[in-house]
């Protein structure tokens, strides 16, 4: 094994030659994997400084195909594990990936609380509307009344709005991507990673096997004659809060992002919906112990700490 030369990082540097994705042909996860590798090449961090933490599902397998540190964890717990990894070693670039069931269903509590915490992580949710790996049941993103070919009956529960939920939970970077819109997705991932704080990209991901509603043809708009997805930036939408001290601007930008998040049907927005510069959890920790502003716990927390003063306090 050789240590990568940061000068010449390419998407290939982050590929794993002897491990092949076992996703179905045409699965949107291939697009996400490819975009992640390209984004990592652009970000310039060598593979050993990157950790990809994932949940369980088809999507959860993604770390196996990336040359970086990786943990393929439990269903719904990826954000928890990633939080521990990042706080232990802030020098790592930590990416989190998982399915919509993983993040918005079984992991919903962690989705909400990770937003509140604002640890410096980038979280990619593969939103395919279904539980892929368990053979196509409705994910929390499946809209009420919809029925894929794999579902026995139409959904009778309301779907969750991930963007609205993210806004309400305190995420400081919220974007929507589309697995097949490669350059856009690469750009979004780069921006999400560069953002200080927890960044969410809800990535629309076709699952050709189980979701015959959210197909590539659907997003291309074959039936309506134009692409359904459009870039927010092309329409002048600016989700960034320019003055983080201005509460009115924050509220206005949050409302605009939520309003956009309801757009669906013939027009589906893609891009950054909201971004706010706010103190990260790590910043807050450094407020308690200044050394944490410059060093990681990994270097600071050595065994054999002097506890004589502590013991004496009980005398």
């Amino acid at each position: 094994m050789v240590v990568a030369d940061t000068e010449r990082l390419t998407a290939k540097t982050f590929g794993v030659e002897d491990s092949h994705p076992d996703w179905c042909g045409g699965c949107g996860d291939f697009g996400i994997l490819s975009a992640v590798k390209q984004a990592l090449a652009k970000l310039g961090r060598p593979p050993h400084e990157v950790a990809v933490i994932s949940g369980i599902g088809c999507s959860g397998k993604i770390p196996h195909y990336i040359n970086a540190y990786g943990l393929h964890t439990l269903h719904g717990r990826a954000l928890n594990v990633a939080t521990g990894v990042k706080l232990a070693n802030q020098d790592l670039e930590v990416l989190v990936a998982g399915g919509d069931g993983d993040g918005y269903g079984i992991g919903a509590g962690y989705f909400v609380n990770s937003g509140r915490r604002n640890v410096n992580l980038a979280y990619l949710v593969h939103n395919n509307g279904v539980y892929g790996l368990t053979k196509g049941q409705a994910a929390p993103t499946m809209r009420r009344g919809q029925k894929t070919k794999g579902m026995a009956e139409a959904a009778i529960q309301e779907s969750v709005n991930p963007i609205g939920l993210a806004i309400a939970s305190g995420y400081t970077f919220i974007a929507r991507g589309y697995a097949m819109a490669q350059p856009d997705l690469v750009d979004l991932i780069v921006r999400a990673v560069q953002h200080r704080g927890t960044a969410l990209i809800d990535i629309l991901q076709p699952c050709p096997i189980y979701n015959d509603l959210m197909t590539i043809d659907f997003f291309r708009g074959r039936d309506i004659g134009h692409n359904r997805t459009y870039r927010l930036a092309d329409e002048g939408f600016d989700g960034r809060v320019h003055d983080p001290s201005n509460q009115d601007e924050i509220v206005a930008k949050q409302q605009a992002a939520i309003a956009k998040s309801f757009e669906w049907g013939d027009r589906i927005p893609i891009g950054v919906l909201y971004q706010l510069d706010a103190p990260t959890y790590e910043d807050e920790l450094a407020g308690r112990l200044p050394e944490l502003g410059t060093s990681s716990l990994l270097d600071l927390a050595a065994p054999g700490q002097d506890i004589s003063r502590l013991q004496d306090a009980y005398r």
Binding site: M1, T73, N80, V81, L87, A301, P303
Partner: protein, 636 residues
């Protein structure tokens, strides 16, 4: 056959002689408003400062304001680790402390503590509290009634200060202490100096007021106490005045800091969260991040992540939280995380159960906390000092064997105060296990779960150049890739489980078990965890008062289990009594499973209260006299 024991009024350790420094003291009253905790803790600390050995334990409801609390303080000239049934001095802040609650308050009924007062003992009560003196009906004890509020008011006014109930009534907690000092012939200055330490600089004017309250309480108590002399006196032992007075939760917290634990997660729960709260306070002084997570699933998995990233990580919880940690524990084990250390402070189950009460019900659960077969270590400390030392070692084992370690403690250790010279952490080894570095592999890709002779694969901490690997909660290859082939499955199963054999072989005996007392004895008591305190305190009493020679086999390491040594000790024992704070005799079941030896004589307690020294004595005496089988104890 079930023999139930619990005769409330039976004196268990009656003794008329003058007792120097051997005191059993109890205060009772309502939670929060009563000042019970502060009175007891200040008194306990004053005794510790005076060089006495102290053991102090609390009983409280899962309630914030109003419900009954009782707090005991026991002192001695030799180390003490448990309480006794009788009390010499009972300080009653309300009627409930004496008589319990009326029948109709069914759910919180208890019999009060009056029956615990030793013959010739004293009840000190608040004359203004609604207490029916005629109901005391005991002519073998003395009652001292003091008007707490009047006493505080007089003391304050004497100093020329206008009395203000809101400001000054906190000093009520000094009244029982002052009165106790008087009867025990204990100098109130031991208390005054503590008050001065505790009060902030701008409140030092209160020191003098407190001193006056103590003085007046002492004076009035002396006057109200009919007899010449109380049969217990406290004599300071200045040569011993340097020891600590500490609770298990704090001892464990200190041990975690010492061990270099950089990351502690928790979700609030009794009796565990005091440990995390103690650690939270240290975050400005030591490199430790304490993260209050959204639940115990998150707590566990965050700690697993930190462990994979190379930081010593821990979490701390009680039974309900541990139930949620199951999934993450299995994940830590299959991915061979270095840890985390999980401190499980047991309380009464099942379900929400008895949130603030004692039990040892989670042994079997801790042994198999999640689905599938996987290695982890379970180790049970017997007291606060052991809890600290074992916590230190737990981090070593987590790092060395790359598996989670459960430190199985309980409420009795968590909340009890005990005097200690130190925590015994100095000089304990530090072992971070085997690391992988780039030089070790040359051009070969790193294998995180490499098959080795010992079963241990050197670990590359995230961030190590050239060590990129992925691992997974799925079964995996040496390189951490998902794999379902039979050969690989078997090899990885064997590799993981084999690490337990290595741990069993390498972990020194002192962490596995201890035989306390003579090698050869009439009775061998077998137990684990916090029953150590009452059992070790009972041994000399059994010998001196009942002529029974007894020893105690304390099993600390529960997984991997020291089967051969336990078998050998039990085969050599003449009469074995199993002592456990649970219904099923869970250690007995484990011993049967591991050694084939079935322990027939059991002393069990599942009333949510810890064993007292007397209960152990009683159980051993009963089992020595007859073949009782299963003996259940309770002294409500």
């Amino acid at each position: 056959m079930v023999a139930r024991h619990g005769k409330p009024n039976r004196p268990l350790a009656g003794d008329d002689a003058m007792k120097e420094n051997a005191l059993s003291w109890m205060i009772g009253g309502p939670a929060l408003t009563g000042g019970v905790n502060s009175s007891a803790e200040v008194f306990a600390k004053a005794c510790a400062r005076a060089g006495l050995y102290v053991f102090s334990n609390i009983e409280y409801h899962s309630n914030i304001m109003g419900r009954h609390i009782s707090y005991r303080v026991r002192t001695s000239d030799t180390p003490v680790h448990s309480h006794v049934e009788q009390v010499d001095l009972l300080l009653a802040l309300d009627s409930e402390t004496l008589f319990g609650t009326p029948e109709y308050q069914d759910y919180q009924r208890h019999g009060g503590h009056l029956h615990r007062v030793a013959p010739d003992g004293v009840v000190i009560l608040d004359a203004k509290a609604k207490i029916d003196h005629s109901a005391i009906e005991r002519d073998d004890i003395h009652v001292v009634a003091l008007a707490y509020d009047d006493l505080v008011r007089e003391s304050v006014e004497e100093l020329g200060v206008t009395y203000n109930a809101r400001r000054h009534s906190v000093m009520r907690n000094m009244v029982p202490i002052g009165a106790s000092c008087a009867l025990l012939d204990f100098d109130i200055n031991h208390v005054v100096s503590l008050v001065a330490e505790v009060l902030p600089a701008h409140r030092q004017d209160m020191v003098e007021m407190n001193r006056h309250v103590l003085l007046h309480a002492a004076e009035q108590a002396r006057r109200a106490y009919a007899k010449e002399e109380f049969h217990v006196t406290l004599r300071p032992r200045p040569e011993r005045n340097g020891h600590m007075l500490i609770k298990g939760v704090d001892a464990v917290g200190i041990a975690k800091i010492h061990a270099g634990c950089g990351f502690q997660t928790y979700y609030p729960i009794a009796p565990a969260s005091d440990e995390s709260v103690m650690l939270e306070r240290q975050q400005t002084q030591y490199p430790i991040v304490v993260l209050q997570a959204e639940d115990e699933i998150a707590s566990m998995n965050m700690a697993v992540g930190a462990a994979h990233a190379g930081v010593r990580a821990a979490t701390s919880t009680a039974g309900p939280g541990f139930s949620l940690m199951a999934e993450g524990l299995g994940f830590a084990s299959i991915t061979e995380a270095a840890g985390p250390v999980v401190v499980l402070w047991q309380r009464g189950g099942p379900s929400t159960g008895l949130p603030t009460r004692q039990s040892q019900q989670d042994l079997r659960f801790a042994l198999q906390p999640a689905h599938g077969e996987f290695p982890h270590i379970v180790v049970a400390p017997g007291d606060a000092r052991e809890a600290a030392r074992i916590t230190h070692m737990a981090f070593n084992w987590g790092d060395r064997y790359q598996m989670p370690v459960v430190v199985l403690a309980d409420k009795f250790i968590a909340n009890s105060l005990v005097t200690l010279d130190d925590l015994g952490l100095d000089g304990l080894p530090i072992d971070r296990g085997e690391y992988w570095t780039l030089e070790m592999n040359g051009s070969e890709p790193y294998r995180r779960h490499r098959l080795t002779e010992s079963g241990i694969s050197p670990r590359a901490v995230f961030g190590t150049p050239g060590g990129q690997y992925v691992t997974t909660s799925d079964e995996h290859t040496e390189r951490g890739r998902i794999d379902e082939q039979v050969e690989n499955r078997m090899a990885q199963m064997e590799k993981r489980m084999q690490k337990l054999d290595l741990a069993a072989e390498e972990i020194p005996d002192e962490w596995q078990y201890e035989m306390v007392g003579p090698e050869d004895a009439d009775v061998t008591i077998v137990g684990w965890g916090s029953t150590r305190g009452p059992i070790t305190d009972a041994l000399p009493v059994l010998q001196s008062e009942h002529g029974i020679s007894a020893n105690f086999l304390q099993i600390r390491l529960l997984r991997p289990f020291p089967a051969s040594v336990v078998r050998e000790k039990l085969n050599r024992a003449r009469r074995v009594v199993l002592v456990e704070d649970n219904y099923m005799g869970q250690l007995g079941m484990l011993i049967a499973e591991q050694t084939g030896i079935k322990l027939e004589r059991m002393a069990l307690k599942y009333d949510g209260r810890p064993f007292s020294q007397d209960e152990v004595v009683e159980a051993v005496c009963e089992h020595s006299a007859a073949d009782l089988g299963r003996l259940v104890l309770s002294h409500p």
